[in-house]
């Protein structure tokens, strides 16, 4: 495995910069089949009616007998699409904003002081170890805790997400800071800028690529999550997209056609978000970045 991997890397590096690497493009396009084939299956199922479902391969891969977007319209009706979408967008959006502020601050403080103060190192391991707590053990106590605090609603879900993704994000920020040269902030401090101000004016903007990465990863986790909103918001009528999508599954029957249509619809916003963030990841350290 590694040997062929090495070879591939060597080949890609051997090309002269400035020109597109055609061979590599071809390899990567071929690799896409592993994604596009399942996606193709999902899309044609989303376009078919339940009576077109079969167990034989030719039938499963064939195009629907007539092309219609009825499933998509029906799926949007069943899930109360715009309403659920708005809730999902608010939850994911607020979670991302809060994560960027809270986690980056913590990551910066920890990253700066970890080497000098034992306390910060301890805090780092304390938070990162949270990654390995199985959600199932936290779930029931959290249900009770949020109910007592009166935040068994969207706000509570957001706060929980901020906590759930904290270990990963703090780790990412701390790791990223290792690559940021100290000279810049030292220069700022000589100029008389406070630590607080240096952070917001210099460091925070500098971490843009990492913000984009954190935003994408956090969004990935929250967008499709069913369990947290299900148990925390139970009893309220607020739905998110994944919650509404449970409508397609009951104990003894699943409407795959409508469900797939709905999933594909739900996939689009996050895909767009990713593509936007991709540009930020690349454009981030524009001055010093590798010319990709």
């Amino acid at each position: 495995m590694t040997k062929t991997a090495d070879k591939k890397v060597r080949r890609l590096k051997a090309k002269t910069p400035g020109k597109s690497n055609i061979l590599l493009t071809v390899i990567l396009i071929l690799g896409c089949i592993t994604v596009l084939f399942p996606l193709y299956m999902a899309i044609i199922i989303a376009l078919k009616s339940p009576s077109e479902m079969t167990n034989d391969i030719a039938g499963a891969l064939s195009l629907p007998s007539s092309f219609s977007l009825d499933n998509f319209a029906e799926a949007m009706r069943v899930t109360d699409f715009w309403h659920s979408l708005a809730n999902s967008l608010i939850i994911t959006g607020v979670t991302i904003v809060l994560s960027l502020v809270i986690h980056s601050m913590a990551g910066y403080a920890i990253g700066k002081c970890m080497m000098r103060h034992k306390g910060f190192k301890l805090v780092y391991f304390y938070i990162v170890s949270g990654m390995f707590v199985p959600f199932a053990i936290l779930m029931m106590p959290l249900v009770k805790e949020t109910a007592i605090m009166g935040i068994d609603n969207m706000f509570g879900v957001i706060i929980l997400y901020v906590v759930f993704y904290m270990p990963m994000n703090v780790m990412l920020y701390t790791g990223y800071l290792k690559n940021i040269p100290l000279a810049i902030e030292e220069a700022a401090e000589v100029d008389g800028s406070s630590t607080w101000r240096t952070y917001w004016t210099i460091i925070f903007p500098m971490m843009k690529p990492m913000h984009a990465t954190v935003a994408v990863l956090t969004a990935l986790g929250t967008w499709n999550d069913v369990m947290t909103p299900l148990v925390i918001m139970s009893g309220s009528e607020t739905t998110t997209l994944p919650l509404a999508q449970l409508n397609f599954q009951t104990q003894f029957g699943t409407n795959y056609n409508l469900a797939f249509a709905s999933y594909i619809l739900a996939l689009i916003p996050i895909l767009i978000f990713y593509i936007i963030c991709q540009k930020k990841i690349i454009g981030g350290i524009a001055n010093g970045a590798v010319k990709g």
Partner: protein
């Protein structure tokens, strides 16, 4: 630069306020001094029927407002609401181990003074009684509708080939062999979804072992090795007549295969009919009781309570809740549910049964029914997976290995319960 920081803070504040505002929309409270009765029922697939019933109730009652919730993943939702102590007034759940556990946790109100009890078929009241870990005084639930399991068959296929409905085990195996000889597959299992293993298992267990097997084991009077030996052996025999490698195919595959006429019979419950009809809406499906015995008279139909209503102990308005129950059990409202869900009513009376249950009708009418055994199995023991493991085990002493494991695991998973039963028995003496 500072401006930017404030802009970010303002944005966060705005977003948080929005999320609060949106969350705040779902405020509760009875309007116009009406008593509000909330009900949570666990079958989201029946939401249409319940919406109709809810509407009819609210149109005819001035003093009570009925709110029926039919959430997805209802059991998880219900459990979390119990933790939050946010109790609905009435719950509609299934007659399975969850009910036993809830009852054991002392969550329900005694409703023995509810008049409607007398209209319920005694056999379903007995089934409810047998779900109590230790016999309780009083009545805690009212069975609403039942489902049943046995064998669904492709009626057209049977008619074309002149096959007869088997009524005994030997007739059944003979039929399977005949079907095989004509180059077709008699049975389809779909054991990839482990829970489907329990469908034929329940049918065999109901006919071949006493209804109170689990309770007897808990009292120490018998063992599963003794009671389930035939069940296990016959279960394995069935493997000769099904699709090759049934562990590769899921419940959904099985429904599709049956709907597409790839197979003659499908040993599953009436609950699978909607999924099958979604693939082939014109299919002619009928059913018969699993012929597990060599004597037709010994066969018993597997039928359990699919939906039952209990009033929570915390309910503040017993009278209003009773009024809701009375309304739910009115014949025309039951019929609304039956038409929507292909179910069997637990109330005595003249109801129209779904046609795909024709073959089981006589058993239902005579009350020759007994509860699914798995309604007594603790779900964490995963008996379905154990049955699947057993079927995959091709060694000679597989049955013994399996049943010995069944007995030892049973004791471990039911440790606290067995102790409770023992204490209760000692108290009796």
């Amino acid at each position: 630069m500072f401006k930017r920081k404030f802009a970010v803070l303002a944005l966060i504040a705005a977003l948080i306020t929005t999320s609060f505002a949106v969350a705040g929309c779902s405020s509760q409270g009875g309007e116009n001094g009406k008593t509000v009765i909330t009900m949570l029922q666990y079958k989201p697939e029946a939401v249409a029927a319940f919406e109709e019933i809810e509407e009819r109730f609210n149109a005819t009652h001035d003093d009570i407002e009925l709110r029926i919730e039919s959430p997805n993943e209802a059991m998880t939702v219900l459990k979390t609401r119990l933790i939050k102590e946010d109790y609905p007034d009435i719950v509609g759940i299934g007659g399975d181990i969850n009910y036993s556990n809830f009852l054991d946790a002392d969550l329900f109100m005694d409703i023995s003074d509810f008049e409607g009890i007398n209209d319920i078929k005694p056999v379903y009241m007995e089934i409810e009684k047998s779900l109590e870990f230790i016999p309780e005084d009083g009545v805690y639930t009212l069975p609403y509708v039942a489902n049943c399991a046995g064998i669904l068959y492709n009626k057209d296929m049977f008619e074309e080939n002149g096959w007869e409905i088997p009524t005994t085990w030997s007739e059944f195996t003979a039929l399977c062999e005949e079907i095989q000889a004509s180059g077709m597959t008699p049975l389809y299992f779909g054991f990839k979804d482990t829970w489907t293993c329990l469908s034929p298992w329940n049918s065999l267990a109901v006919s071949l072992s006493p209804a109170d097997t689990c309770a007897q084991v808990n009292m120490g009077n018998t063992t599963f090795t003794e009671e389930y030996w035939d069940v296990a052996e016959k279960m394995k025999e069935l493997l000769n007549y099904c699709e090759p490698n049934p562990y590769a195919y899921s419940y959904n595959d099985a429904c599709t295969a049956f709907a597409r006429g790839e197979v003659a019979m499908y040993p599953i419950g009436s609950y699978a009919v909607p999924q099958i009809l979604s693939v082939n809406p014109d299919m002619n499906i009928d059913s018969f009781t699993f012929p597990a015995n060599d004597n037709e008279e010994d066969n018993i139909l597997t039928s359990g309570v699919d939906l039952q209503f209990s009033i929570m102990k915390e309910c503040k308005n017993k009278e209003a809740a009773y009024e809701v129950l009375e309304f739910l059990f009115e014949d025309e409202n039951i019929q609304i549910y039956l038409d929507n869900q292909n179910a069997i009513p637990c109330k005595e009376g003249d109801f129209t049964l779904p046609s795909m249950l024709d073959g089981m009708k006589s058993y239902i009418e005579e009350g020759r029914v007994s509860d699914f055994h798995d309604h007594h199995y603790p779900s964490e023991m995963s008996v379905d997976a154990m049955v699947q493991t057993y079927l995959l085990d091709t060694s000679d002493n597989a049955t013994e290995t399996f049943l010995t494991k069944f007995d030892t695991e049973w004791v471990r998973y039911n440790r606290d319960l067995i102790e409770k039963v023992k204490k209760y028995q000692e108290g009796l003496q």
